[in-house]
């Protein structure tokens, strides 16, 4: 399997605060990676560096072999299209209803016809179980429903990879399941995914690989079985014992 994303010597500082330190990793096509680690360890920053919402201070991020840094805005936009992103706080556009949220980028960026965009949006809403909410505005939906719309919106661009930043952390507990279910279906359909999460159950069941992050670097990685049963580093053992108790 070829590398879809390659991270080379990635570093990121905010002023004096060095948040990411010399990260070298790669994501293969079809892989599901779960990134876990303590709060403030740099997980979000790492994920945001992958599609350059945060510009790396040092190093490189390659997508399908193309560098995402040092390129023009329009080249970057073309690459970002292929990297869907889902945020903790959903970030749906409140000035548009559900189906408009989903159709916007396909219409404006891919410039497909309205019929085609509508057709595709409806399929996606079906897929996330919200076919009946097409005309509603985001404010009138529950958190779980909003997050599923956000996933559908990202999928509408037919991305090669989906990046999730704690997609269930802002949800009431009873809504976490419906979102994880959609993500699990997505993983099973073969989508490449990088998921920052605190849902250990999901990580165990769905991930191909766990990346454990602390102090701005990936300290340890492995399959869910080996990582959760026999964590090698002390930081990971510490982290796991804290969240499992």
């Amino acid at each position: 399997m070829p590398n879809l994303i390659e991270v080379q010597n990635l570093g990121k500082s905010f002023g004096d605060n060095e948040v990411l330190k010399n990260i070298n990793e790669s994501v293969k096509k079809g892989q599901v990676i779960c990134v876990i680690g303590p709060s403030g360890s740099g997980k979000s920053t790492f994920l945001r560096c992958l599609n350059v919402l945060e510009t790396p201070s040092t190093g490189k991020v390659l997508f399908e072999g193309n560098s995402l840094t040092g390129i023009s805005e329009s080249e970057l936009n073309n690459l970002r299209e292929k990297m869907g992103m889902v945020f903790q706080s959903f970030n749906l556009f409140p000035n548009m209803n559900v189906i408009e949220n989903i159709k916007l980028a396909p219409l404006r960026v891919k410039k497909i016809s309205d019929t085609e965009a509508t057709q595709r949006a409806k399929e996606l809403l079906e897929r996330v179980g919200l076919a009946d909410k097409a005309e509603q505005y985001p404010q009138s939906l529950s958190g779980g429903q909003q997050q599923r719309v956000a996933i559908a919106r990202a999928l509408a661009m037919n991305p090669e990879v989906m990046l999730f930043d704690e997609p269930t952390s802002a949800l009431d507990p009873e809504m976490v399941g419906e979102v994880l279910k959609v993500m699990q279906d997505l993983a099973e359909s073969g989508m490449t995914m990088v998921v920052v999460t605190h849902e250990m159950g999901f990580a165990k069941e769905v991930a191909d690989e766990i990346w454990f992050m602390a102090d701005g670097s990936i300290q340890e990685k492995g399959t869910p079985e080996t990582f959760f049963k026999t964590p090698k580093t002390e930081r990971a053992q510490d982290f796991l014992s804290k969240i499992l108790n």
């Binding site: 599609n51 329009s74 970002r80 990297m83 992103m85 945020f87 556009f93 000035n95 960026v109 956000a150």
Partner: protein, 486 residues
């Protein structure tokens, strides 16, 4: 670094201010030829000074009339061109002449030595005495200059009467106002105890108001200073010569006393017979029309420019950002009145044909743009960064993000503030009246001079402004409600 740029900006701005005034002197005197080439003689006056110049209604149309206007008409005819009257504050006349907005000034103006340093005057065409207008109730108290000890005297700013009072009534306070009408209101409400006025004008006011009286307080007058003459640009000798010829002919036939003053008197009595405000509704209607035109056009351009400045201010380029900040701060830090005058007289000196209405609209738009820019910027900054991130992560460009995501949401948030700016402009635009744009405020002054009534036109104008702003607020409120439900 930032400071330097700001200074540079200020310096450029000041240069722009000075340059227009530095090259106004023509090498040879082709002033008369220029007027003939244009085919029109543009005459500046201050039409609240009967019988010299004032307005009257004829067949429903407002006309400038009075002995000065008759002389100007005759002069234009003599040199074979059309006459165009530009009405403005007396104070602004000489600036307008200097900046070549007008070809000549005829406004009962006395050729004082101070004025002669910057203006070329014709011969004196008419000499009147300097009188005082007082309340009839004070007639027993005030007869001569010495009776006014400790009293406040009103006079038109920049006028001969103003300097007479200053020089010969040293113990008195002088209250200077731009409009005679306002001075008369001040007199009637005892804010001033007398208004120094030229004889004919004072008599006109007294004739039209039972409670006022005219006295001759015995100013010590140098005959050469009390006569009225026509003012031209310094160096416009060809125009002066032509005007002197016309004046000689007028004097030879004694036209001023035989024809012009009687005609003016007729217009004055015609005016005073039509004192009911109903006769002047067309004045107000025209004023409303212009106020609305200025406001609507300025709101539009203010919004477009304001959006531009807001985006510039949010730009990552330090230069573009600095430019926008300098502009916004500068405009917000100077009075609209000064800006209006700067655009009309300053910019107008470069672009000679800039009409007052256009100058007014430009100034108000530019002013509004600075305020709108700040409203829009705050609207844009109030949109959470997550919105931009979501949009950019979908591959949308910065421009598309602004267009489809940020601006629509920002507009919805700032709609009330923008509406407020609209309402504010209706009121603020009244300042353009100082450069002679016939907006509601200006028309009010015309009605005041036509009717010799001070307060009622003010009251009517106030009510009209209120109805406009209140109506607009209601309409905007209705749409605001609609947007909330969308």
């Amino acid at each position: 670094m930032k400071k330097n740029k700001f200074f540079l900006f200020i310096i450029i701005f000041l240069l722009a201010l000075i340059i227009p005034f530095t090259h106004v002197k023509a090498a040879s005197d082709n002033y008369l030829q220029k007027v003939k080439d244009k085919g029109t003689l543009v005459v500046g006056t201050s039409a609240d000074y009967p019988p010299y110049e004032f307005t009257a209604k004829e067949n429903g149309k407002t006309k400038y009339v009075g002995l000065d206007i008759s002389i100007a008409e005759r002069f234009a005819k003599d040199i074979g061109v059309k006459l165009k009257i530009r009405n403005m504050n007396f104070d602004s006349l000489l600036v307008a002449l200097e900046t070549h907005k007008i070809d000549m000034v005829i406004a009962g103006m006395n050729p004082t030595p101070e004025r002669k340093t910057s203006v070329a005057f014709s011969k004196i065409y008419y000499t009147g005495n300097q009188y005082m207008l007082i309340n009839k109730s004070d007639a027993a108290r005030f007869k001569k200059i010495k009776d006014f000890k400790g009293q406040t005297i009103g006079a038109q700013t920049g006028s001969l009467q103003y300097s007479l009072v200053k020089q010969q009534m040293k113990g008195n306070d002088v209250k200077g106002l731009a409009k005679l009408n306002d001075l008369v209101i001040a007199l009637q409400s005892h804010k001033v105890n007398a208004v120094a006025m030229e004889e004919a004008t004072a008599k006109a006011f007294a004739e039209n108001n039972r409670n006022l009286k005219v006295i001759n307080p015995g100013f010590d007058i140098d005959a050469s200073q009390t006569g009225s003459a026509i003012g031209f640009s310094k160096g416009a000798d060809s125009l002066v010569t032509a005007a002197n010829k016309t004046i000689d002919e007028i004097k030879k036939d004694n036209l001023i006393n035989k024809k012009y003053i009687p005609a003016a008197a007729k217009n004055m009595t015609a005016n005073s017979k039509k004192k009911s405000m109903m006769n002047y509704w067309t004045y107000f209607a025209k004023g409303i029309e212009y106020t609305l035109i200025i406001t609507v056009v300025s709101v539009f351009f203010g919004f477009v420019l304001g959006t531009l400045f807001a985006l510039m201010r949010l730009s990552r380029s330090k230069f573009v950002h600095g430019l926008a900040v300098s502009y916004i701060e500068f405009v917000r830090g100077t009075p609209l009145m000064v800006q209006v005058m700067f655009v009309y007289f300053g910019v107008g000196a470069v672009i000679q044909s800039l009409p007052a209405l256009v100058a007014g609209i430009i100034a108000v738009s530019l002013n509004s743009a600075a305020y709108v820019a700040e409203v829009i910027r705050s609207g844009i900054e109030s949109i959470p960064s997550g919105q931009t991130e979501a949009s950019r992560s979908l591959g949308m460009s910065q421009k598309e993000t602004y267009r489809y995501i940020i601006i629509p949401q920002a507009l919805k948030n700032i709609w009330p503030a923008l509406g407020n700016e609209f309402v504010t402009l209706i009121k603020e635009s009244s300042i353009v009246s100082i450069i002679g744009v016939t907006d509601l405020m200006y028309q009010m002054q015309l009605v005041q001079s036509a009717t010799y009534k001070g307060v009622i036109p003010i009251f009517i104008t106030m009510v009209i402004y209120f109805l406009m702003t209140f109506g607009l607020s209601k309409v905007l409120g209705y749409f605001e409600g609609k947007m909330k439900h969308a």
